[in-house]
């Protein structure tokens, strides 16, 4: 379960906070992120830390993929859904949509 990318250099919660700070600095530099105020910065850091924990949970739930920091790591799940998705999930066929014909799959 030890994430090979994160080397624990000090013990305990303080060490983890230090590591998350380090990750957040790399994240801001890589994705060109900047925040209008210290307050906003602190809020985004808190969201970022929560998303690091989510990434670790996703990694456990989805071990054949690689989960980690993406450009969306400073967004809450609802901000992410509201801003970067956009599907109106109405499973209803418009008038002109027909059912695709069944195709042969055995040859």
């Amino acid at each position: 379960a030890e994430d090979p990318l994160i080397k624990q250099v000090v013990d305990g919660a303080e060490g983890e906070a230090l590591t998350d700070h380090h990750h957040f600095s790399i994240f801001k530099r890589k994705f060109g992120k900047s925040y209008a105020s210290q307050e906003e910065h602190d809020h985004r850091f808190k969201v970022f830390r929560a998303n690091l924990r989510r990434a670790r949970r996703h990694q456990k739930l989805d071990p054949s993929a690689v989960h980690g920091v993406t450009q969306f790591s400073d967004l809450t799940p609802s901000e992410f859904r509201r801003t970067y998705l956009g599907l109106r999930s109405k499973l209803r066929l418009p008038k002109d949509a027909t059912q695709a014909p069944i195709l042969p799959t055995d040859s």
């Binding site: 998303n51 989510r54 990434a55 996703h58 739930l61 989805d62 071990p63 054949s64 993929a65 690689v66 989960h67 980690g68 920091v69 993406t70 450009q71 969306f72 790591s73 967004l75 799940p77 992410f80 859904r81 509201r82 801003t83 970067y84 998705l85 956009g86 599907l87 109106r88 999930s89 109405k90 499973l91 209803r92 066929l93 418009p94 008038k95 002109d96 949509a97 027909t98 059912q99 695709a100 014909p101 069944i102 195709l103 042969p104 799959t105």
Partner: protein, 232 residues
């Protein structure tokens, strides 16, 4: 059916695009499917305009008032195909570039249509049928639940549990036969999905998700479109 298939190898897929901070995934899924269908019809790969859909497509669900395509506030690929059918087609990306906002007026120019929809249909949930339609008709517009995509960096996603509530429109461009799944300690077949969050996200802008169990609803809403040849 071939064991592995990827429309990118056949030149039917444009480069990964970026929808930015706008809920317009549905328009990228729509243009991707029509770009592929138009390639099959004309052997020319033309990048089509999502902004035309964002600005001009307000097609509503005939049976559900208020459920309309609404620019950055969301839409549905099937409705977008319906709009494209009625409008006559989509313009080129370069003639109607993407801005990622939906405050502009519709600037659709009928004389500059680059691709038109002949018809579109919905593919059943059966994965073999989905694969057959993909191989025969080109990339498919699909919907998925994006919960794991916010933290996805690479590999083949095969989560134990994943909601099938669909919230994101993407493009199915191919499938592979052997993505290794550590937890299942065996090779698993997977779908290859083109996303619209730029090349720096995921696997070069793509998402791979394993086949077989309608994971994250990936098989639930699949549409195929046929294009007519237009000259512009």
């Amino acid at each position: 059916l071939p064991a592995d298939f990827d429309w990118r190898d056949h030149g039917a897929v444009t480069g990964v695009k970026n929808q930015g901070s706008c809920g317009s995934c549905w328009s990228f899924s729509t243009t991707g499917a029509l770009e592929g269908a138009n390639f099959l019809a004309t052997e020319k790969l033309v990048s089509l305009s999502e902004q035309q859909l964002v600005d001009c497509d307000h097609e509503c669900d005939p049976e559900e008032p208020g459920s309309c395509d609404s620019g950055c506030n969301g839409g549905l690929m099937n409705s977008a195909f319906e709009y494209t059918l009625k409008a006559g087609g989509l313009m080129r990306e370069e003639d109607y570039p993407y801005t990622g906002t939906d405050r502009g007026a519709c600037k659709f120019d009928k004389s500059k249509i680059a691709a038109s929809v002949a018809n579109f249909s919905v593919v059943t949930l059966d994965e073999d049928q989905i694969a057959a339609n993909l191989v025969k008709n080109g990339p498919l517009a699909i919907a998925i639940n994006a919960v794991f995509m916010q933290t996805y960096v690479g590999g083949v996603s095969c989560p134990y549990i994943c909601s099938r509530r669909l919230d994101h429109g993407v493009l199915l461009v191919g499938y592979g036969s052997a993505g290794y799944s550590a937890v299942r300690m065996k090779e698993k077949p997977y779908w290859i999905i083109k996303n619209s969050w730029g090349e720096s996200w995921g696997d070069g802008g793509y998402y791979k998700i394993c086949r077989g169990r309608n994971i994250c609803g990936v098989d639930s809403m699949v549409s195929t479109v046929a294009a007519v040849q237009t000259s512009s």
